[in-house]
């Protein structure tokens, strides 16, 4: 009996074991050490016998770090950053320069000189405080309201204005809307309009920086509290934390995403509250206090670089201006509300008071500087308006490293010349190739020197040869030198062949020698290389108050609706350039599209030994096919 029981017990045990083995249900082996602390893979936390839901009131609000009070006084002297007189003056001057630029460019949009603009009023402290705390080699991923960072890095007002005008000096070649700046030389990634997309990218760059030998730099990523609602923001925080990237996330919480106030944007204690939840070291700072932002970013940067850890800084501020020139914020907020932030909490005012107390600045210096800053902008605008537009060919460049044939074939010639001109040139080419010359023809008039004069006047031989060469270049295989099978044309005037026109300064002789007839427009649209836009005759009325009101004067919009008035009076040249202004050479041009990059196809011969003799007729791609024309006749 006992034996029987024992056997059945064993049977049951083995059955249980089998069930366990076969079961797909996997139970984690929880070590409940004394039933106090759980050790789940997802959380190690104590057990509790109480149901308690947590919400935003379960924690104290995250405090806001500040150094200066509203009167520009440092409450705790030990927190004053160690910055010398020149550095502080430079910071203040950049803030006011930014402010002047905003005022004038905003108005220039209202006058129709530029298509769009976004002001930075009320957030100058964040820009300049953070930029001053960074190394110039730290990579900046900006949103669109961080132009102060670029100014502080040495971008000139002229460069910024050129971008807004989209002239040929804009490194982006006029492709993007105004305020989409970017400068590789100053480690500022070109801004794009979609919100939040820059955030995971910044994390990726930070990871690449971390892997560099002896890395001493980090990445800073700016974004607004509205952009933090995008999925990309969550992705970025999570990636930065899990992959330990040296990055500083700087949130500009300015209270509004266009018209949506922050209390309709999120619940909980702001963006900063998300930091600890996602494993980011977090600090909240007063964004109207330039020195507090400076201290915060300085320390954040130090941690990021030395420990390869992500930091989140939430800078609280108020967007004093409209969202953009396409927005009128009086529709969703009161002027009283704005006034509070322009009077008591102006970052420029606080910085000015601080400098005055230190004896670094006074009203006289302020007036002089404001005049100079304003003139900087006005002169830049004058200069930008004189500049030509980028070459039309830039429309299709930079899509790919090499221009694919589908773009290339249809555009290179046909956008450039009228169809009649191309037709004449091709008939001319056909005649040359078949060694046939038209000597006489029906309907010849005494004025006709050549047969094509019947169709289009004023075509020169040089022009025809130029078009023929372009056609031959297009249709000959790229591996072949373009002169290989050229028809017996007279040697073309090579220096007149249109080379790729540089986006920077197109050489004067790069234009094809097309005689420009006033009666017969030979070219489609605009002449190349560039179009000069005559400066408009309306003047930029200088009605801006010298003291920073901190907000755009909304009534100004009416001021410029009248007819053009007196021509622009030449503003006095500033005696010396401000310290952050320096000239830079025009941007270098990428190599011509037809030249393959050196490290690209054809691959090194070792990788591609000569192909074997054709062995299988069913697979003709094994044979190197003879080059054949694209569309055989």
């Amino acid at each position: 009996m006992a034996l029987k029981t024992g056997v059945s017990f064993l049977k049951l045990t083995s059955l249980r074991q089998t069930c366990r083995v076969l079961s797909t249900h996997i139970r984690p082996e929880v070590q409940q050490n004394g039933a106090k602390n759980a050790d789940f893979p997802g959380a190690r936390a104590p057990y509790t016998g109480e149901i308690k839901f947590l919400d935003e009131n379960s924690y104290e609000p995250i405090p806001i770090y500040r150094v200066l009070d509203n009167n520009g006084k440092a409450a705790d002297k030990s927190h004053e950053p160690v910055l010398d007189r020149e550095a502080l003056r430079h910071m203040y001057k950049t803030m006011t320069q930014l402010n002047q630029m905003d005022k004038i460019l905003y108005e220039s949009q209202r006058q129709g000189r530029i298509s769009f603009y976004m002001t930075n009023y009320g957030e100058e402290g964040i820009h300049i405080g953070s930029a001053a705390a960074l190394d110039p080699k730290d990579l900046v991923y900006a949103q669109y309201r961080e132009v102060g960072v670029l100014l502080y890095r040495g971008m000139t007002v002229q460069e910024l204005v050129d971008q807004c005008y989209g002239n040929h000096r804009d490194p982006g070649k006029g492709r993007q809307m105004p305020v989409h700046y970017g400068c590789k030389r100053r480690s500022v990634v070109t801004i794009s309009s979609p919100l939040g997309t820059q955030m995971p990218q910044a994390v990726g760059s930070a990871y690449a920086y971390k892997r560099r030998a002896g890395n001493e730099n980090c990445v800073i990523c700016y974004f607004g509290e509205g952009a933090a609602s995008e999925g990309d923001a969550h992705a970025a925080f999570n990636f930065a934390a899990t992959l330990s990237c040296p990055i500083v996330f700087l949130c500009r919480n300015n209270g509004y995403a266009i018209s949506t106030p922050s209390n309709e944007q999120y619940r909980g204690d702001g963006i900063a509250a998300r930091g600890p939840a996602m494993g980011l070291r977090t600090l909240r700072v007063d964004g109207t206090d330039t020195l507090a932002v400076y201290n915060a970013v300085k320390q954040a940067r130090h941690i990021a670089v030395s420990e390869n850890k992500p930091i989140l800084v939430e800078a609280m501020c108020y967007r004093v201006g409209h969202h953009s020139t396409s927005d009128d914020s009086s529709a969703y907020r009161s002027l009283d509300e704005i006034a509070k932030w322009t009077k008591d909490e102006s970052p420029i005012q606080k910085m000015k008071l601080y400098l005055e107390q230190k004896g670094h600045w006074d009203d006289k210096a302020d007036n002089e500087w404001l005049k100079e800053a304003r003139n900087n902008v006005l002169l830049s605008i004058q200069e930008a308006e004189k500049q030509k537009k980028p070459n039309w060919r830039e429309m299709l460049e930079d899509v790919y490293y090499d221009m694919p044939p589908r773009i290339h074939l249809c555009t290179t010639l046909c956008l450039q010349w009228e169809p009649e001109v191309i037709a004449v040139a091709l008939m001319f080419l056909a005649g040359k190739l078949s060694k046939f010359e038209v000597v006489d023809w029906n309907g010849r008039m005494p004025a006709h020197n050549a047969w094509w004069d019947m169709f289009v006047e004023d075509i020169t031989m040089e022009l025809l040869e130029d078009i023929c060469h372009q056609v031959l270049d297009l249709y000959s295989p790229q591996t072949q030198s373009s002169g290989g099978e050229s028809p017996p044309l007279p040697p073309p005037s090579q220096n007149n062949r249109p080379e790729k026109i540089t986006g920077g300064t197109p050489p004067k002789n790069s234009s094809p020698p097309a005689p420009r007839s006033t009666t017969t427009p030979l070219k489609n649209g605009t002449d190349h290389p560039s179009v000069t836009e005559p400066p408009k005759s309306t003047t930029l009325t200088q009605t801006y108050s010298t003291s920073y009101a901190g907000m755009p004067s909304y009534s100004h919009t009416q001021q410029y609706s009248g007819p053009p008035v007196a021509p622009l009076p030449p503003p006095p040249m500033p005696p010396t350039l401000p310290p952050m202004v320096f000239s830079e050479p025009p941007p270098a041009r990428f190599p011509p599209v037809n030249v393959p990059p050196p490290n690209y196809f054809p691959p090194p011969p070792s990788l591609h030994p000569p192909r074997p003799a054709p062995s299988n007729a069913a697979h003709p791609h094994t044979h190197p096919l003879p080059p054949r024309p694209y569309y055989p006749p």
Binding site: G204, G231, Y401, H621
Partner: protein, 367 residues
């Protein structure tokens, strides 16, 4: 003895059952290995998963900035393409990311912008759509919007695509046409191990961001003798796999093999010779090879697994009628998936299998 017989009977029954199941779930095509090798040197027998693994291995060993990342990549990836690479190259070069496709794409763009070579794996092409914004608005436009100052050409996004027999709606899609509408991207689909290795190495070294869509059914079912060396196949070039004069058939990925079988059926049953072109590169695509072939044959059949409307076949058809209108003997025909989501149990009816293609072929020939 009796029980032994009964047991063997059961065993036979089970084996038969399994075989039937296997038949039911077996692929809808016969794999045609490449006859041609891009190199005469030493080869190794590899399936497509191993060929891709080999391409990434070569990249990681030759390019110290190269990184491989994605969901579950550390242990080799759910399709095992990254097998053994983390052990070989370390946790900072081959690593898991959080489960977030837009994060993976954005992270890859940032890596490439900062000078690293980024190979990002999206677990299934069906899940690439959260990354659509990053790929279409950011990766594709990075060079253009900065005037050539910044780019993310060193980014390659790999994603398994296509029908697999039991994938249903969300493990079977072929999203190449979505990305073909984004100038700035390159979209590539290989048809087997040799092509996959050469094309992937090209994509990785291409100075433009590439989306490399791997037909997942070929990972294990396609086996070829793959050259051991590092070789590249040019992007934007189609390959003519079978020459003919009666009909041009164009496909990419798995569908190439369906058309090769159809071409064989046509030659056996009808005695007509069909030209089969593997497009290989969807964006930019090889107009020249296609148009020259169509001018020779006068008849075109385009086939892809993705739905008909606005599938990439539409673009090819439009270009063919524009360039070869007077050479055409019959309307350009497309045999594709239906305009419906990809169904699970109806997959055999949904796919443009050899019978549907053959039917279209006979109609084209007799037009």
């Amino acid at each position: 003895m009796n029980s032994l017989v009964r047991r063997s009977y059961f065993l036979t029954k089970v084996v038969k059952n399994v075989n039937d199941c296997a038949k039911r779930f077996s692929s809808h095509f016969i794999y045609y290995p490449d006859q041609h090798k891009p190199d005469d040197g030493q080869t190794t027998k590899m399936n497509m998963m191993q060929a891709i693994n080999n391409a990434m291995d070569l990249t990681l060993s030759s390019d110290p900035t190269a990184l491989l990342f994605g969901e579950d990549v550390a242990f080799g990836g759910v399709f095992r393409c990254a097998l053994g690479l983390q052990e070989k190259y370390g946790k900072d070069r081959v690593f898991n990311t959080p489960l977030c496709e837009q994060g993976i794409a954005g992270f890859g763009i940032g890596l490439a912008a900062a000078g690293a070579t980024a190979i990002a794996e999206i677990q299934f092409a069906d899940y690439i759509f959260p990354a659509f914004d990053q790929l279409v608005n950011e990766a594709a436009k990075a060079r253009y919007r900065s005037g050539g100052q910044w780019d993310c050409g060193a980014l390659t996004v790999r994603a398994p695509c296509g029908a697999v027999g039991h994938g249903g709606l969300y493990h079977s899609q072929s999203p190449e046409a979505f990305f073909a509408h984004a100038p700035g991207l390159k979209v590539v689909v290989p048809r087997g191990p040799i092509a996959a290795k050469g094309l992937l190495l090209s994509c990785i070294r291409e100075p433009d961001p590439c989306i490399f869509l791997e037909p997942k059914i070929l990972y294990r079912s396609a086996t070829e003798e793959v050259p051991n060396i590092d070789y590249m196949l040019p992007l934007g070039k189609a390959q003519i796999l079978r020459e003919g004069d009666a009909l041009t058939m164009i496909a990419w990925g798995t569908q190439v093999h369906v058309l090769l079988e159809v071409a064989e059926m046509a030659s056996e049953k009808l005695g007509v010779h069909c030209e089969v072109i593997d497009l290989m590169s969807i964006l930019p695509w090889d107009e020249e090879t296609v148009c020259n072939s169509v001018k020779k044959t006068g008849r075109v059949l385009i086939s892809h697994e993705a739905p008909l409307t606005c599938g990439f076949g539409a673009e090819i058809a439009a270009t063919i009628q524009e360039e070869c209108f007077l050479h055409l003997e019959a309307p350009v025909t497309r045999v594709t998936g239906w305009d419906a989501p990809f169904p699970h149990v109806f997959e055999p009816y949904y796919l443009p299998d050899k019978w549907r293609c053959y039917h279209a072929l006979t109609q084209l020939i007799n037009y």
